[in-house]
C-alpha cells in the first residue's frame, strides 16, 4: 500500500470515530469538568478549597465516607465469597444445568434495582416474608429494613451477578487439563482449587472485585429505600445536598471525592491486573 494510501486510511479512521468521540467529549467529559469547577466556586466568582475542607474536616461527613467505603467492602467481600463457588459451578457444568445457572445469574440484572429493593423490603419488613417464617417457627421476629445488615444483603443480591460473570468468564478460559494434572499428582479437589484454579482466575477475581466495589460505592437507591437517617452513604448525601440544600458547590465537591475513591480502586485494579498477568 502506498504511503499516501495508508495516510488516507488513518485519516478515515479518525473521521469515523469523530462523532462518537466528540459526543462523549462534550456530554461526558464536559459535565465532569464543569463538576470540577463547580466544586471550587465560592459564590463570588473566585476559587476556594472551602468545600473540600468542609467535607473532609467535618466528623459527620468523614463518618459517612467511612460508612460508604465500609459497606462497599463488606458487600464486595460477601459477593466474592458467595460468588466464586457459583462461578466455578457455571464454568464446570454443561447442558441444562449450565443454562439454568446462567439464567439464575442474569435474571436479577434484568430487573430494575428499585424493583429488587422493593422485593427485599417485602422480605425484611415487619410483616414481611422473613418474619412470617420466623413466626411460623415460633422465633422472635426481626426487622432488617433500616439496618446496615438488611441493606448489605439486598446490595449483595443486586451486585452478585456482576462478580459471578466476571469470574466465570475467566474460569472458562482455564485449561481443564491443568486440573487433571493436579489430580493425577495427588491433589485433593480443594487443594486443586486453592493452588491451581484460584491463582489462574485471579484476573477475573480482580475485575469482578473492583467492578462490584465501584458499583456499590456509587449506589444509592437501595439505601434510599431501605435506610433511615442513621444509615447514610455518600451518594445519597450528595443527592440530598442537591435536592434539599440546593448547595451545588458542596454537592460537586462530595461527588468529586466519590469519583476519586473510584479512581483509586480502578488504578488498584490496573496495577494488580498487571502483576497477575505477569505471573
Amino acid at each position: 500500500m502506498s504511503r499516501r494510501g495508508s495516510m488516507r486510511q488513518g485519516a478515515r479512521g479518525y473521521l469515523l470515530t469523530f462523532p462518537a468521540f466528540a459526543f462523549l467529549a462534550v456530554f461526558f467529559v464536559g459535565p465532569l469538568i464543569v463538576n470540577l469547577f463547580e466544586s471550587f466556586k465560592d459564590g463570588e466568582g473566585g476559587i476556594t478549597f472551602a468545600q473540600y475542607a468542609r467535607a473532609l474536616g467535618d466528623a459527620y461527613y468523614l463518618e459517612v465516607l467511612a460508612d460508604t467505603i465500609g459497606l462497599s467492602l463488606v458487600v464486595t467481600i460477601a459477593s466474592l465469597v458467595l460468588g466464586y463457588p457459583l462461578a466455578l459451578a457455571i464454568a464446570r457444568s454443561t447442558g441444562a444445568l449450565k443454562s439454568f445457572l446462567i439464567f439464575l445469574v442474569v435474571t436479577p440484572l434484568l430487573i430494575n434495582v428499585v424493583v429488587r429493593t422493593f422485593g427485599w423490603m417485602v422480605i425484611f419488613g415487619r410483616s414481611g416474608f422473613l418474619n412470617s417464617i420466623l413466626k411460623f417457627l415460633e422465633l422472635d421476629t426481626i426487622t432488617l429494613t433500616g439496618t446496615w445488615t438488611g441493606i448489605a444483603i439486598a446490595m449483595v443480591q443486586v451486585l452478585l451477578p456482576f462478580m459471578v460473570l466476571s469470574i466465570a468468564s475467566t474460569l472458562e478460559g482455564i485449561d481443564g487439563e491443568l486440573e487433571d494434572a493436579a489430580t493425577t499428582l495427588g491433589a485433593t479437589p480443594l487443594k486443586t482449587i486453592i493452588h491451581v484454579i484460584f491463582p489462574l482466575s485471579l484476573q477475573g477475581v480482580i475485575t469482578g472485585t473492583v467492578l462490584v466495589f465501584a458499583l456499590s460505592i456509587g449506589s444509592f437507591v437501595t439505601v434510599m429505600l431501605m435506610g433511615t437517617n442513621s444509615t447514610m452513604v455518600l451518594p445519597l448525601l450528595v443527592y440530598q445536598q442537591l435536592n434539599l440544600a440546593s448547595d451545588w458547590p458542596f454537592a460537586a465537591a462530595l461527588g468529586n471525592i466519590l469519583i476519586f475513591v473510584v479512581l483509586i480502586a480502578t488504578a488498584l485494579q490496573l496495577g494488580l491486573s498487571g502483576r497477575a498477568a505477569r505471573r
Binding site: G13, Y14, L15, T17, F28, V115, V122, F129, P161
Partner: protein
C-alpha cells in the same frame, strides 16, 4: 455443592418472585404471603396514566437512546477494528469509560453542565445523558463481533470492484446486524432500568418508569408497585424473546455466513 446452589438460587430469585406474587395480592397493603389473590392491582395500574405515561416515556427513551448510540458507535467501531490508526486503542477505552463512572455523580455533573449550556430540564438533556451511558455497550458488542469476523469477505468485495460504501452496505452491515441488535438490546435494557440520570434530568412530562416507581415508593407502600414491576418485567422478557427469535444469541459469535 448442591445445597449451596439451592440456597444461592433462592437468594438470587426470591425478591423477584415475591414481587410477582404480591402483584396479584388481594390486600390493600403489602404482606407476604398475601391473604388472597386478585388481579385488581394489575388492572388498576394498567389504567393509571401516572404509571402508563412513564412506561411509554421509558420505552421511547430507551429506543431513541439506543438508536442514537448505535449511529455513533457503528462508524467508530468499524474504524477501531479495520482502520489502523494511532490511538485506536485509546479511543476505544475512552468510548468505554462511562461504564466506570458512578451513575449518580455523572447525573449531577450533567445537571450542572446542561444548566450551564441551556439544555437544563429539556428532553434533549435526558436523551443525551442516556446515550452517554449506553454507548459503551454498543461499542463493546460491535467491536467484539467485528474483530472476530473474517476480513477476507470484505477484501473479496473490494477485489471484485466494490466501492467502500457498497462494501459497507452489502457486506459489512449484514455481518454486523446481529451485533448491532444485541448491543442495542443491552442499551435499551440499561436505559429502561436507569434511575440516577432520569431522576435528576427528567421533568413531569418526561418522567421515566423507574423514577415514577421510586417516587411512588417513597410515599406509598402497596401492591401497585409490584403490579407495575411485573409489567416492566414482562416488557424486558419480551424484548429478550424478540432478540432471541430474530437473531439468536448464538449469532453473536458468527464468523461468516
Amino acid at each position: 455443592m448442591v445445597c449451596y446452589l439451592a440456597v444461592i438460587s433462592v437468594f438470587l430469585l426470591l425478591p423477584q418472585l415475591i414481587v410477582v406474587v404480591v402483584a396479584f395480592s388481594e390486600a390493600s397493603f403489602v404482606s407476604f404471603p398475601p391473604p388472597g389473590y386478585s388481579t385488581k392491582w394489575m388492572v388498576r395500574v394498567l389504567s393509571d396514566p401516572s404509571f402508563m405515561k412513564p412506561l411509554w416515556n421509558s420505552v421511547v427513551l430507551g429506543l431513541s437512546a439506543s438508536i442514537m448510540a448505535a449511529a455513533l458507535a457503528l462508524p467508530a467501531s468499524i474504524a477501531i477494528v479495520r482502520h489502523s490508526f494511532r490511538g485506536a486503542r485509546a479511543i476505544q477505552n475512552f468510548l468505554l469509560s462511562p461504564l466506570s463512572m458512578p451513575a449518580l455523580i455523572l447525573a449531577i455533573a450533567m445537571l450542572f453542565f446542561l444548566s450551564d449550556i441551556g439544555l437544563g430540564n429539556t428532553y434533549a438533556g435526558l436523551l443525551f445523558g442516556h446515550v452517554v451511558i449506553v454507548l459503551p455497550y454498543l461499542v463493546r458488542t460491535i467491536v467484539a463481533v467485528y474483530s472476530g469476523a473474517d476480513p477476507r469477505i470484505e477484501e473479496a468485495a473490494y477485489t471484485l470492484g466494490a466501492r467502500p460504501l457498497s462494501t459497507f452496505w452489502f457486506v459489512t452491515l449484514p455481518m454486523l446486524r446481529p451485533a448491532i441488535f444485541a448491543g442495542g438490546m443491552f442499551a435499551f435494557l440499561v436505559s429502561f432500568d436507569e434511575v440516577a440520570i432520569a431522576l435528576l434530568l427528567s421533568n413531569a412530562s418526561s418522567i421515566t418508569l423507574p423514577v415514577s416507581i421510586l417516587t411512588y415508593l417513597t410515599y406509598n407502600y402497596d401492591p401497585a408497585v409490584a403490579a407495575i414491576s411485573v409489567i416492566k418485567m414482562i416488557i424486558v422478557v419480551l424484548a429478550l424473546l424478540v432478540l432471541e427469535r430474530f437473531y439468536g444469541l448464538q449469532n453473536l459469535t458468527m464468523q461468516s455466513r
